[in-house]
């Protein structure tokens, strides 16, 4: 049945009921590099972010920003021969996963942290039925019998609103549409009720109407389970709907962090500002789009100083020599703006005009 939702405004604010001080996931000074034939590609260069239970962090960036690589590092699915993590910590409930044994890491990553990928068709095994794959989570991790696992699988499918779940539990992934497959992937991710979900471009490959359905579902399930959600995307529109706070990445670094409402109205970094100005708005028909000149950076040769300097309209000499640290952003009178940071030497000019 089609729903017309006249009451929904911004989704209900998700409070973080977790113990204060210990975030669910905290990434500290993460570095990831890839050793290729042509040199060392520095994909992630000192990333810090954290997520609390019930909170949604959106990691925003384009190709080469390092957003996906950092998520893959958290999940431990990077190809480690060409990839290396030379430094950094990934703290899950305070414990560094990079220092754990392989077995301990596997236990956390399967059960407590789950990941949803962009292309459900290649993430689901095409030769196994959907019910089998869903049930597998229960059979392997909880030792359930086949019958119980199947019943649980049907329950999960119904939870993610797949119609005629009982009849379709034996179907194969290719028999479902893109949106349905994505829901199945969400169901698989949720099966063991994880504490944290990492969604890597979950709706990029989907149509707009299906995207809305899937994002709605994710938000609802997050509320229900009080999970943390890291949403990785390049779509500023999707972020506005769903996120609590945003981290913008460029060339492997976080260049700006802010609560979601703030960043759209008052960006404090030229890159964020440029991005916001360059996307056409559905509700505004404008003139020529502002285009950030130049191209996304080559990770084999990141520009010195601030990586964004070749493309920045406000670049000065210091930008070419000194890498800006992520600094606290304040109001003009000096009061701290909580949760806001900008890695720009001239963030004051960008923010306050």
């Amino acid at each position: 049945m089609t729903i017309i939702d006249k009451t929904a405004g911004v989704p209900a604010p998700r409070g973080s009921e977790d113990a204060p001080g210990v975030p669910l996931l905290e990434v500290r000074d993460l570095h990831v590099e890839f050793h290729t034939r042509d040199g060392v590609a520095k994909a992630v260069n000192g990333v810090n972010y954290s997520v609390n239970a019930g909170e949604t962090l959106a990691v925003l960036g384009e190709s080469g920003s390092g957003k996906s690589v950092s998520a893959q590092a958290i999940m431990g699915i990077l190809d480690m021969p060409p990839g290396r993590i030379p430094q950094g910590e990934i703290l899950f409930r305070g414990e560094d996963m990079l220092k754990m044994s392989g077995e301990e890491r596997r236990r956390i990553r399967g059960r407590k942290i789950a990941m949803i990928f962009q292309d459900a068709l290649s993430s689901l095994n095409p030769v196994l039925s959907v019910g089998y794959q869903l049930g597998e989570m229960f059979r392997v991790h909880q030792g359930m019998s086949k019958k119980d696992a199947k019943a649980k699988a049907i329950e999960l499918m119904e939870r993610v609103r797949i119609p005629a779940a009982r009849e379709r539990v034996g179907d194969y992934p290719h028999q479902f549409s893109g949106g349905m497959r994505q829901r199945i992937m969400i169901a698989m991710a949720l099966a063991l009720e994880p504490d944290l979900i990492i969604a890597d471009e979950p709706t990029t490959a989907l149509d707009v109407t299906v995207q809305a359905q899937v994002m709605d579902l994710l938000a609802e399930l997050q509320r229900e389970f009080n999970m943390g959600l890291i949403l990785i995307t390049h779509d500023l529109g999707v972020v506005a709907d769903v996120a609590d706070k945003i981290a913008v990445m460029y060339a492997g670094r976080i260049v700006e962090t802010a609560p979601v409402h703030e960043i759209y109205k008052r960006p404090a970094h030229p890159y964020t500002k440029g991005l916001l100005q360059s996307i056409p708005r559905l509700d505004q028909k404008g003139q020529e789009l502002f285009a950030i000149q130049g191209l996304p950076p080559n990770l084999l040769r990141i520009p010195s100083g601030c990586a964004f300097n070749p493309r920045c309209t406000a670049a000065q000499d210091i930008c070419r020599t000194e890498v800006p640290a992520l600094q606290q952003v304040t109001e003009q009178d000096g009061t701290d703006l909580p949760g806001r940071g900008s890695a720009c030497h001239f963030w004051k000019e960008t923010l306050h005009g």
Binding site: M1, T2, I3, I4, D5, K6, A8, G9, V10, E62, S63, P163, S177, G178, G179, M180, D207, V208, T209, V210, Q211, A212, Q213, M215, D216, H234, D235, L236, G237, V238, V239, A240, D241, V260, H261, Y264, K265, G274, L275, L276, S278, I279, P280, R281, L282, D283, Q284, K285, G286, E288, L289, F290, A291, I292, Q293, L295, P296
Partner: protein
């Protein structure tokens, strides 16, 4: 902007059915995927007509039909009064000079084993009458310059360029023969956000400079709105609604358009409060077996018996017939009703 005189392109009842066959040696047709099932629209000189729709609606097939890359099952496409769907051989080749295409994927739309100069110069090899042999290199370099690339790159290979640059090369190739119409099939979907703006700006500049008409096919509604003068919304092989960009985006009357617009995420957390959200249930029906009557009725909240029995015509709905406002535009719905879903900030 558009000159409202004679349309340069007229599409009438264009149909493309892909047969579904059974049997190994002697194939029997058991059905058909009705990818495009009766589309009509006009394109005027110098304007951009946007065609939006979701996957499976048939918009890419429309592009292929207009370019004669697929043979239409039925219907006509009149270019300057002549039906190009019936052409072949030399006549078709001559028409191809005037209607060109820009493809979606910058990574597969350029032959990886040809240099950029060869790629852009190939149109001149195929149509030698457009440029005498001696001039060709110069023309290719001019084209590179026009799309914002360094003419000295003429000997490089596509894989030495970024996605956005490759798309520019594709655009240069499309411009080589001085066409009047360029059909753009999702030209910026595969590009990074910051690069999309560059390419869109370029396309608009070229349109002004060369008085081009664009058919801009995409699924990104925001970009389509930005670049188009008029917009058509497709659903399951048919045109649901068509009108000026203001009409479609601010005064949509077809429920599908309304649902589509309400689903587009807007990069502004505040704007969400002003918008009405319509969540469609279920999946798009299979194009091999579309619903009777109005195709959208299986997902429509307004569907009634009439919708299953009678297919609505694409025409100005009666209730708006007399109105002289943007709301009076073609819409294929028995119960068309205006609804501002976008909540345009004024």
């Amino acid at each position: 902007m558009a000159e409202q005189t004679e349309p340069i392109l007229q599409v009438r009842n264009l149909v493309k059915h892909f047969p579904l066959t059974q049997g190994i040696v002697f194939k029997k047709q058991v059905g058909a995927v009705k990818a495009v099932d009766g589309i009509s629209f006009d394109l005027y000189r110098g304007e951009t007509l946007g065609i939006v729709g979701e996957s499976g609606c048939g918009k890419s097939t429309v592009a292929k039909l207009l370019m004669n890359l697929e043979r239409a099952t039925a219907g006509e496409v009149f270019y300057k009064g002549e039906d190009i769907t019936r052409l072949s051989g030399r006549a078709l080749k001559a028409v191809r000079r005037n209607i060109q295409m820009v493809f979606q994927d910058p990574y597969t739309s350029l032959n990886p084993r040809m240099t950029v100069g060869d790629i852009i110069g190939e149109p001149f090899d195929i149509h030698p009458e457009v440029a005498p042999k001696g001039d060709r290199r110069k023309k290719v370099q001019d084209l590179l310059d026009v799309v914002g690339l360094n003419p000295e790159y003429i000997n490089r290979y596509p894989h030495q360029f970024s996605g956005g640059q490759r798309q520019r090369i594709g655009i240069a190739r499309g411009l080589a023969l001085n066409p009047e119409i360029i059909i753009c099939d999702e030209p910026v979907s595969a590009l990074d956000v910051s690069v999309q703006a560059q390419v869109i700006n370029l396309m608009e500049k070229l349109q002004d400079e060369f008085n081009l008409s664009y058919i801009f096919i995409a699924h990104d509604l925001s970009i389509v709105r930005h670049i188009s003068d008029r917009v058509g919304v497709m659903y399951l092989g048919k045109m649901a609604e068509i009108g000026s960009d203001t009409a479609i985006y601010e005064h949509p009357t077809h429920p599908y358009t309304q649902a589509l617009l309400s689903a587009v995420p807007v990069p502004d957390p505040e704007a969400r409060d002003h918008r009405e959200r319509i969540i469609l249930s279920g999946d798009v029906p299979s194009p091999a077996n579309p619903p009777s009557g109005c195709r959208f009725r299986t997902r429509c909240w307004k569907a009634q018996d009439k919708c299953a029995q009678e297919e609505p015509l694409l025409a100005i709905p009666e209730r708006f017939a007399s109105a002289d406002t943007p709301v009076a535009h073609d819409s294929a719905c028995h119960f068309a009703e205006e609804k501002d879903v976008v909540g345009a900030t004024s």
